[in-house]
């Protein structure tokens, strides 16, 4: 058999456009890989059962929880994390700005995951209803905001892009 199981592997993972080649243990979760091996500490974790969504990233265009995936499974993947959200000149993206304007973050711990969930939602549904927004961020727990201003931030950005007639980046 050409393929044998191994306890560690060499992986190439592209995060926010940069490709990282690393040896990683098979038991390492993607979230730990991002935080510990790549020092991308903007991706957080707040539980150990895949409920809180703080570790949410986009992998190969799909919104996922990085604590529910092994780092070895990300071999060859394209990953987007919070560190890649801002504009190239460092200014806030419209989504980040909408979160700030609506006071959609307090402690800011769940915020990276929530912004990625929002980005994914708006990419797939640029004009969501309130119900669709709430469904879209259901996998992300926030204990500070009661979700009210997060929903508003997403509504605001959807309304803005509708006005401008462009899709959310």
């Amino acid at each position: 058999m050409s393929n044998t199981p191994s306890v560690s592997r060499s992986v190439a993972v592209t995060v926010n456009g940069t490709t990282y080649q690393r040896d990683v243990a098979a038991r390492t979760l993607l979230v730990h890989f991002l935080r510990e091996n790549l020092n991308l500490t903007g991706t957080h974790f707040g539980c150990d059962t895949g409920h809180c969504g703080s570790c949410t990233v986009i992998a190969n265009g799909k919104l996922i929880k990085s604590c529910m995936m092994l780092a070895v499974q990300a071999d060859g993947a394209q990953i987007e994390t919070v560190e890649g959200l801002a504009e190239p000149d460092g200014s806030l993206s419209p989504l980040q700005q909408a979160f700030s304007d609506a006071h959609a973050l307090q402690c800011g711990f769940c915020t990276p995951g929530l912004m990625l969930a929002s980005k994914y939602l708006l990419e797939h549904n640029p004009n969501p209803t309130e119900e669709e927004i709430r469904r879209g961020i259901k996998g992300n727990l926030c204990r500070c905001t009661g979700y009210v201003n997060i929903v508003r931030a997403i509504q605001n950005i959807a309304a803005d892009s509708a006005e401008k007639g462009d899709l959310v980046k």
Binding site: P5, K62, I64, C67, M68, G139
Partner: protein, 294 residues
Amino acid sequence: MLLKEISYVRPHSIDEAVALLNSYPEAGILAGGQSLINVLKMRIGAYSTLVDISALEELKQIRDSAEFISIGAATTYDDIIHSPVVMVSRPILAETAFRIADQQVRNRGTIGGNCCYNDPTCHFPPLLTAMGATMQVYGSDGMREMSAEEFFVGYYQTALASGQILAGIRIPKPKRPYGDAFVPLSVGGTDVLNAVTVTAHVELDEPGTLTAVRVVATGVAPQPLRMTSVEDFVHGQTGQFSDLAGAVATFDMSSLEPPSDVHASGLYRRRMVPVLARRALKMALEQVRRGYRE
């Protein structure tokens, strides 16, 4: 969050996956991982090798034929939700998948994983049972088929033998007006945890009588439970049938010994079965009468 040391392999074909399973006795299948990785985090699983089938395209296809929809076991919930085939032929699959967890989990979790995990709160075991689905099991001796009822044998248990993989699921396409309804009782909030579910399926035959009736409850028995007395009562009635309470009353609730846990008491679960059964039948019958599903 800290897994035991584990070996990992990514086979290139289902045959290779089966070969790996048979070569490494403590090997297990990793598909979407949305249950398995949690089990590994808690270090309660016995696996020392993971065979990752999540990238096997041959297991991720949704195929349409005259009689069936075939769904590969590694197809994600999100792919089912967005499948035009599903939307046209059996939309209940998408509606039910949409209730599972959240977007992130739906993007990785698979229908096969849902079936193989067979937690009593899972969505697909009762739905597939009510739909009369066929489970396609692949092993070193090739493909074998069994009914969903044969497949789901007990709490967290399926008829899969070691060295076998659930490869796909075949779901019949009714040729006459039909109704499908999945009614969960979620505790802890909306679509959080299904304490009890009832799924109903009915079809209307040419003379205008109800047939192929299936009513399936979960959360009250080790496996998806066919409420056969209800099915029998409804079978052969006209499309205008409305005595839901009478139909449900035929079922002997006292025979149920549902589990009590922190989510719900056994007694409450038992009380919810007739309520959800009436609601599921009502929804399914409305669809039949309309002749289509909305």
